[in-house]
């Protein structure tokens, strides 16, 4: 389930400056979404996908599997965009339904394909960041961007306890399954509900134990910890800036030439 988290720690880029990785990923993401261009998206997918597959120790197949996580949403929404409910037939395909048509036009089809490309390219940017950067490093970037301290502290602690609570949840669910708690739909639903109830009670109990443990180490309302910082090398900085500039230029060029699709 937490595959992405696991992979992030084994990435070859893990020790690179998180700020740099975030700038590269988010910068490309913004250009990609802003440009909505086929060309920009294609380059993004190739570059980001390539970087990710090469740097994180995963196979292309596994990467494609990860890319398919948002497929359900993508297919459903894209169908809604590609297929029109129309009272007149359209140029590509029309199926009469009742008094109107379910119709696809060339325009809606190209729109749909473009949207899929942009979305996939954006996801490849997101994956570049998340598969190369540990969560705490991302939080450190947020802290430097002056995200309120309280928020950063909350996120840091939540991240830690996600795993503790997830373990509790899966342990209880497993033991319910051992006692046939999943024999049919209603039993499974009831089991899950009971598990969630006890999970909340236990989580809250844990919060009070954790507070005692932190107090006993002189916690005074602010969480001070050593931060390990990774600095970017000059050529990495130049490379990233150059890539972003080039992408921006391509995006503007595509827009100016009016080649919407390209």
């Amino acid at each position: 389930m937490m595959m992405i988290d696991k992979l992030a720690y084994s990435s070859r880029l893990r020790d690179k400056s998180p700020a740099l990785k975030a700038s590269l990923a988010v910068g490309t993401l913004l250009i990609c979404v802003g440009a909505r261009s086929f060309m920009v998206s294609l380059i993004t997918i190739i570059v980001m996908g390539g970087l990710t597959v090469l740097s994180s120790r995963i196979s292309l197949l596994k990467y494609l599997k990860l890319m398919s996580i948002p497929f359900g949403f993508m297919v459903l929404s894209t169908i809604a965009i590609v297929i029109n409910l129309s009272d007149k037939p359209m140029d590509l395909l029309s199926v009469p339904v009742g008094s109107g048509y379910l119709a696809i036009s060339y325009h809606s089809l190209t729109e749909g394909i473009l949207l899929v490309m942009v979305a996939l390219a954006s996801v490849s940017c997101l994956y570049f960041l998340t598969l190369s950067t540990a969560m705490l490093d991302i939080l450190e970037v947020l802290r430097r961007l002056h995200c309120p301290i309280l928020m950063v502290e909350l996120m840091m602690l939540i991240y830690r306890y996600i795993f503790v609570i997830l373990d509790m949840a899966s342990a209880i669910t497993t033991s319910q399954h051992c006692r046939l708690g999943n024999k049919d739909f209603m039993t499974e639903l009831r089991s899950m509900g009971q598990m969630l109830a006890v999970l909340l009670v236990r989580s809250l109990k844990r919060s009070s134990q954790l507070f005692d443990a932190m107090e006993s180490r002189c916690y005074d309302g602010e969480i001070r910890v050593l931060r390990e910082s990774y600095t970017a090398e000059k050529r990495e900085l130049i490379g990233t800036a150059g890539f972003l500039a080039a992408m921006l230029a391509i995006a503007i060029l595509c827009r100016l030439k009016g080649i919407g699709l390209w």
């Binding site: 319910q176 399954h177 051992c178």
Partner: protein
């Protein structure tokens, strides 16, 4: 039933690999005899817990075969329910097993899932509570129970389903000696009823005292499987699994070497037996 009726479960080259690629079981061959007391030992991470979850069908082997009562386990919904009906697991940490606020509700969960009518289930729950001395605290909410009480409820959880085989993961962990003894007594009763009991423990003294057979796991492989007195005399396999020779055995050998006890005596399994040898000398 085909095959050997004495064998309740048979594992043939059983392998299990987790989704993330961790190979937890790397080909386990094992026959579990009906009614036997089997201790499974091994360091943390040697695959004990994975093995247990495979034995009752929570994990489907990635390779190899699992036979229950001579028939290969079917991994259909029905096949799994049939298996889990007969093979119960008592987990190490009662908190990962108990999820109801009430003791009676907790214990009745499994038997009601078997489809037993409520009245009959209620009767059976009462019987089991009496058997495991739970009646005294039956009305306490589960989260106010002590460790030993929780443990008893978690055994009742499984016992009420009338399984042929019960797996207990470190049943005495975190209990004080008195409650650990109480649980030992309960486990003995299970065996007396003819239930096959599998138990994991780090405690060599307990394994020597209790088990008919000890299986040593290391890194997803069975490295030794024999009677406890045999296994615990093999320094080399003990080293590999980070176990120490039981104190009773060490002292018995020392006493033999010093000429105080006769080497031909049956190997003692408990401090009491060793004390008797000394007294009868």
């Amino acid at each position: 039933m085909n095959g050997n009726a004495d064998i309740i479960m048979e594992l043939e080259n059983l392998c299990y690999t987790y989704e993330d690629g961790t190979e937890a079981l790397k080909g386990i061959d094992l026959q579990i005899r009906r009614g036997e007391k089997l201790a499974i030992m091994g360091a943390n991470g040697s695959g004990k817990s994975t093995l247990f979850l495979t034995l009752n069908g929570i994990h489907k082997p990635t390779r190899g075969k699992l036979l229950f009562n001579g028939r290969p386990v079917e991994y259909s919904r029905k096949g799994l329910l049939d298996l889990r009906k007969k093979v119960g697991i008592v987990f190490q940490d009662p908190d990962s097993q108990l999820f109801s606020a009430s003791v009676v509700q907790e214990i009745s969960f499994g038997i009601l899932n078997l489809g037993v009518p409520e009245k009959e289930a209620a009767k059976r729950v009462e019987e089991v509570m009496e058997e495991l001395n739970i009646l005294l605290f039956r009305n306490k909410p589960t989260h106010f129970l002590s460790g030993g009480q929780k443990k008893r409820v978690s055994i009742a959880d499984i016992l009420v389903m009338d399984p042929e085989m019960i797996i207990l993961d470190e049943p005495a962990a975190a209990l004080d000696p008195k409650h650990a003894r109480m649980i030992d007594g309960i486990i003995d009763k299970l065996s007396e009823k003819g239930i096959t009991v599998i138990l994991s423990t780090h405690d060599v003294d307990r394994a020597l005292k209790w088990a008919d057979r000890v299986v040593l796991l290391e890194d997803g492989i069975v490295i030794r499987e024999a009677k406890p007195d045999a296994v615990f005399q093999e320094e080399e396999v003990l080293m590999r699994t980070n176990l120490e020779k039981p104190a009773v055995l060490k002292l018995f050998e020392t006493l033999c070497r010093a000429g105080i006890l006769n080497e031909n005596l049956k190997i003692p399994h408990t401090v009491q037996e060793l004390e008797q040898y000394i007294n009868n000398r």
